[in-house]
């Protein structure tokens, strides 16, 4: 029997749910996260989650996180490395980790990559001025560290992140002067849009940032209307006073580590960009290396939790470890996952998975 541990990179909802499955089987698990707290994106979600009860809908992200972390307590087959970044991955499944100034190596029998995604930037004049933030960074400042990013915010992007972060800014007593979107309709859930609209935030389509204005920090922003090719239309410029420009223009999977060991990566716009080519077992083109959650395609915490369970179960089965009721659990998780993706908002993901050839 292979005594090396199962290593999970990333302790967001995907990594945490994978950990629980692995631990239950008695396998030795090493969970690594570069942050000082477990939970990934959940650490800053103070709002109630949508979704179904099975994935803790209606609870707040931070409370879901607590449940998931509590589920890992009491296992002596778990080793957690916080504030530890996996900086290198080798073909023999050895990982190079950096904790503070110290390097160490872990050899794994199987690796579950659950590194999530990074926020996309937006090119415009002066986008490096202090006061231009990604939405996730704003959320971390506010909800994790209790720091106000500014007093008057322009939000860019009408996906759920832009809508929800706008709402959270208002809850922190910060004015959201406007939310603009380049496309011609709101891309997030209408319920989230209506929620900020009724508190007075104008939501405007076909608009984006032309440039940020300010000497040492953002003092104002110049917006302009976009044509159907998303090109700015001269003469439509509009100046708005604000001290913060918050960008919620999408996420890109963090696949760099997998590229180091030659995992096949393919570009699928619907899934957020470069994603690993996984099979229905969430295994990449390198046997024993699995990818689940946002790193395998931008979706939701609810789907990441289910994906983590499926990936972990297959990792165990492939390693020859018996899993209680594996078949029936896998079938019901697949059904839940499919259920979540069924609606119009799941269309993009469905299309992406179809291109990947793994639409179940």
């Amino acid at each position: 029997m292979n005594e090396a541990p199962f290593v999970i990179i990333g302790a967001g909802p995907a990594g945490l749910s994978a950990a629980e499955i692995l631990l239950k089987s008695g396998a030795h698990v090493v969970l690594i996260d570069r942050s000082d707290r477990l939970g990934g994106q959940l650490t800053k979600q103070t709002h109630m989650f949508f979704g179904s009860e099975k994935q803790h809908a209606s609870k707040r992200g931070i409370d879901i996180l607590k449940l998931m972390v509590d589920a890992l307590s009491g296992y002596d087959n778990l080793t957690v490395h916080k504030e530890t970044t996996v900086v290198g991955m080798y073909k023999d499944k050895t990982l190079a980790c950096l904790k503070g100034e110290t390097y160490f190596k872990v050899h794994a029998q199987a690796i579950i990559v659950a590194t999530g995604a990074s926020e996309k930037a937006l090119p415009f004049e002066n986008n490096d001025l202090p006061g231009v933030y990604a939405a996730g960074a704003v959320q971390t400042l506010m909800n994790v560290y209790g720091v106000k990013p500014g007093n008057k915010v322009l939000m860019v992007g009408s996906g759920n992140i832009g809508l929800i972060v706008s709402y959270q800014l208002m809850q922190a007593g910060i004015e959201v002067v406007k939310l603009v979107e380049a496309a011609d309709s709101i891309s997030g859930y209408l319920v989230h849009a209506s929620k900020i609209r009724r508190y007075g935030v104008p939501i405007e389509m076909n608009k984006s940032v032309k440039r940020a204005i300010g000497k040492t920090a953002v003092e104002a922003v110049e917006l302009w209307e976009l044509d159907e090719h998303w090109q700015g239309i001269p003469g439509t410029e509009e100046m708005i006073e604000c001290d913060t420009i918050c960008l919620a223009v999408g996420l890109a999977p963090l696949t760099e580590l997998m590229q180091q060991i030659g995992v096949e990566i393919t570009f699928i716009g619907e899934l957020g960009g470069n994603v690993p080519r996984i099979n229905p077992r969430f295994e990449t083109s390198v046997p024993g290396v699995y990818a689940c959650g946002d790193v395998a395609g931008i979706e939701e915490a609810s789907s990441a939790m289910i994906a983590g369970k499926i990936a972990a179960t297959h990792a165990l089965l492939n390693a020859g470890i018996e899993v209680d009721k594996a078949e029936s659990s896998l079938a019901s998780w697949r059904q839940e996952l499919q259920g979540l993706r069924n609606g119009p908002h799941g269309e993009k993901v469905r299309k992406g998975l179809e291109k990947l050839g793994v639409l179940s």
Binding site: M48, S58, M170, S185, I196, Y199, S302, G343
Partner: protein, 162 residues
Amino acid sequence: MIEKTGVAPSALVKKEFPEKIVLKKPKAVIECYKDIPCNPCETSCPFDAIKVPDDINHRPVIDFEKCTGCGICVYNCPGLAINVFQLKDDKVLMKIPYEFSPLPKIGKQVNVMNRAGEKVTEGVITKVQNTKKHNKTALIHIEIPSAFLYDAITIEVKPHEA
């Protein structure tokens, strides 16, 4: 239009309301206009009044006969898309979800806003429920003039004051 602004036009809003005679008793009105994978409204209702039929992506459907207007779904809906309305004499009694601090005080006169965030009238806070089970989404009771039944949706929150 709602896809571009987030504001439901009044024709759409009115379709979600029961007839006025039904509103002699408090009833939940659900404004969840698009299919999303979500169902806490259904699972939280102790009276089995809300169904998300067949597929979690479908829109919820309410049975006004079963609904008691208790307000439980109001603070369990992550979209804050449900409010309770009741017509009483020349007033509307509303129960709305509220997640800003400080919470308004009972007896306070407040500005009442429409779905576009504009002030439409004034109202009085009659009750504030915020126990552990509300889990930080308070249930605020407001009394407003009945003429604004289809316009009123929330109370004003001023930035920097919160």
